[in-house]
């Protein structure tokens, strides 16, 4: 029969018309990014960090600027740790280089800033603030990842 394919296509679109929609209402519902997502800013754990400088050396763009000092017990520690996210390639080399897993991505994808200097993140200060606050992370009510949802279907 001529036109069978056309009717088939119309059947498909009509089915889609009444189907569940895939859209997530973004500002209200935010996806948690998967484990291997590279993005956002670097998150430093200043307790784990041994100030070896491997991350800064591994970085192809010299995005990480760190200065180290030695205290009276001959132990190196961080004095400053700057991360220029505006120049970052998100190549993950720094995180692979770190021997103690002290840095990771914060997996935030809302990275736009109004001014250029806001792109330079002082990771050490943030880490110190965090450890001072020492809050237990509460799991926020977020939508599951669509990929896992599709797998369940």
């Amino acid at each position: 029969m001529v036109g069978k394919g056309l009717l088939e296509g119309m059947r498909v679109t009509l089915k889609a018309f009444f189907n569940k929609k895939e859209t997530l209402q973004y500002p209200e519902i935010k996806l948690t990014m998967p484990d291997r997502f590279r993005g956002g800013e670097l998150e430093l754990d200043d307790k784990k960090c041994i100030a070896c400088g491997l991350c800064a050396r591994a970085c192809p763009n010299h995005v990480i600027e760190m200065t180290t000092g030695i205290d009276e017990q001959k132990k190196r520690h961080l004095k400053s740790y700057l991360y220029h996210s505006g120049l970052c390639l998100y190549c993950n080399f720094c995180i692979e280089a770190c021997p103690t897993n002290a840095i990771c991505w914060d997996k935030n994808y809302e990275n736009s800033r109004y001014f250029k200097d806001e792109l330079d993140v002082d990771c050490l200060a943030i880490a110190k603030q965090k450890s001072a606050a020492a809050q237990v992370d509460k799991p926020s009510a977020e939508q599951e990842d669509t990929l896992t949802r599709r797998d369940q279907e």
Partner: protein
Amino acid sequence: MQEITGLFKIAEILRDILGRFLPAQLVDICMSLINIGAIFTIISLTAVVLVYTERKVSAFMQRRSGPNRVGPGGTLQSVADMIKLMAKEDIMPAGADKWMWVLAPMLLFIPAALVFVVFPFDNKAIFADLNIGIFYFIAMSSQSVLPFLMAGWASNNKYSLVGGMRTVAQMLSYEVPMVLSILGIVMMSGSMRMSSIVAAQQHTWFILLQPIAFVVYVITATAEINRAPFDLVEGESEIVAGPFTEYTGMRWALFFLAEYANLLAVSAIATTLFLGGWSGPWLPGWIWFFLKVGGMIFLFMWFRWTFPRLRIDQLMSFGWKVLLPLALLNIIVTGIGMYIYEFFS
């Protein structure tokens, strides 16, 4: 004829009220103006509503949720669109044929609006019940070919000119099977008057007696109003947008408005000719009319978001080699069928 109901009754009440203050001739003029205003209101409101509907329908068919931010459920989205269009800069291309360029969008809207003269929205609710109603509709809708060519020519742009010529070729070719598919209806009802055609369908809708004509009419109408899968006029990215490449802001919006007015017009004609017009049980006539028109519009949108676009040579060969013989065959079969029916009754 049935008793006077619905819209015509409202008109009679208005006429009575006006008759108390004004002489008879002025009342007639006032009523004409009110009718014209109502028709224009319908056209512009439909355009606004259809923009929103189109976006929603397309979104739903692609498993998205569509506009839902501006106003409740996104209903004010088209208002926001209009404000955006008004704020856009009006650019005239260098070396354009000025008068033609300015007139084209306006001239395109005029036939789209004039067609509404002969639509029976309800029992007796018709602006002018011409005895050549369908003929008038065909004549008027053919007029919208010219502005496209004008726009294409005046834009001083080769792509626009080619686009305009493509449009003319498409619209002229599809006029022919459209007229021939309508002829079957005229043969069966024995009249070109819209009200008589609706009256002839009180018992059986013509879609049941003329299925081939209906299919041919829907396909040709889709081509006639330049909607997908025949939207060679508009292909924005694949083929440069055709005659209205150079138009911006409100001028472009006029093209758009004309397209949606045409969509409404074609759906209303389909309703009148094939779906029994305003006739229907329980509900008032004009509600039936607009329900059927809404169904037809949904059908056209369904086509648009399902089928891929045709190439121009496929389009032309389909029109001339398939639809035209089909429409002619339909006329022959209708004639023979009518003789057989008369012979046995």
